[in-house]
Symmetry: C2
Amino acid sequence: MTVQLEGRLASRGDTPLGDRCGIDRTMQLIGNRTAMLLLREAFHGATRFDSLHKRVGVTEAVAAQRLKELVAAGVLAKEPYREPGQRTRHAYVLTEAGHALLPVVTALLEWGGRYAPSPYGPTPLAHAGCGEPVHTELRCEAGHAVPEEELVLGTPLEG
Amino acid sequence: MTVQLEGRLASRGDTPLGDRCGIDRTMQLIGNRTAMLLLREAFHGATRFDSLHKRVGVTEAVAAQRLKELVAAGVLAKEPYREPGQRTRHAYVLTEAGHALLPVVTALLEWGGRYAPSPYGPTPLAHAGCGEPVHTELRCEAGHAVPEEELVLGTPLEG
DNA sequence: GTGCTGACTATGTCATCGCATAGTCAGCGG
DNA sequence: CCGCTGACTATGCGATGACATAGTCAGCAC
């Protein structure tokens, strides 16, 4: 019923993990509502400050602050671009680390659609190739779907 | 390079999504560091208040508050139990909605291990069945791995 | 060089989240 | 019924995050 633990983790008693844990570090970097919503819009293809702040629905000050943090975290990069007849502007684009956050974003989206339903209903994800619904799930490199009770957590401190 | 949008979402201009978005609702319910860390410990099998608050490393007041919120959100349930020779206590156990958060937690863990590295190294996930490393990824119901550029987002407001 | 627009920055205020310390409360052992 | 322990609750304070309003700044159009 719970994740299996290995090595030092298995008998850590009640000592806190602190920043040994990747969840903690991730949440400290990008674990707030506004950052996630900015990422959502980045995945939707929004790149301009104006568009991002309006679509997320926060004030410019907050958007500027969060975007600065996301750039500092290496999740977004500021790239100069110029449209014809326009001055040079900066686009916020997802870095590799940013793109790697897609499972986080989709997992939050799926869960919210199912367990925090709204009058608007869930937002379905689909595969462009075959049209089938898409889910965020655990798979091992051998291709097996991994249910919770078959998940083993190693410890980073040994070996 | 970005998620493809369908229907009303495709041309929403710069209007905010607000709580039409499952990401937003999820983040409002459980989108803070302490809640995620409490869930981490719940997945590790911790059920008792004392254990949870110590392992997460927050004060009792904060743990009590967050646990109350998680119970209200339907993610944890308080269940009475009695050990022999002990008085009745309450265990915090994951509900079905709570278990459904596993992909969120593992996605955060994986990302942190890779892109917010610590001196302790990443925490590897493995499949108990075959020993292979496990990843949180997007799959369609036909079994295809879905890369970002093949992901289509529907809109909840039509049909 | 004036105006316009996109992209911020500044200020002030309020709510939320965290910490630290201290207090409460229930019930079993003695 | 006294004390201990686990599980909270209360209070006070500082940091963070949000909002609203207003100001700045760069550069192209004219």
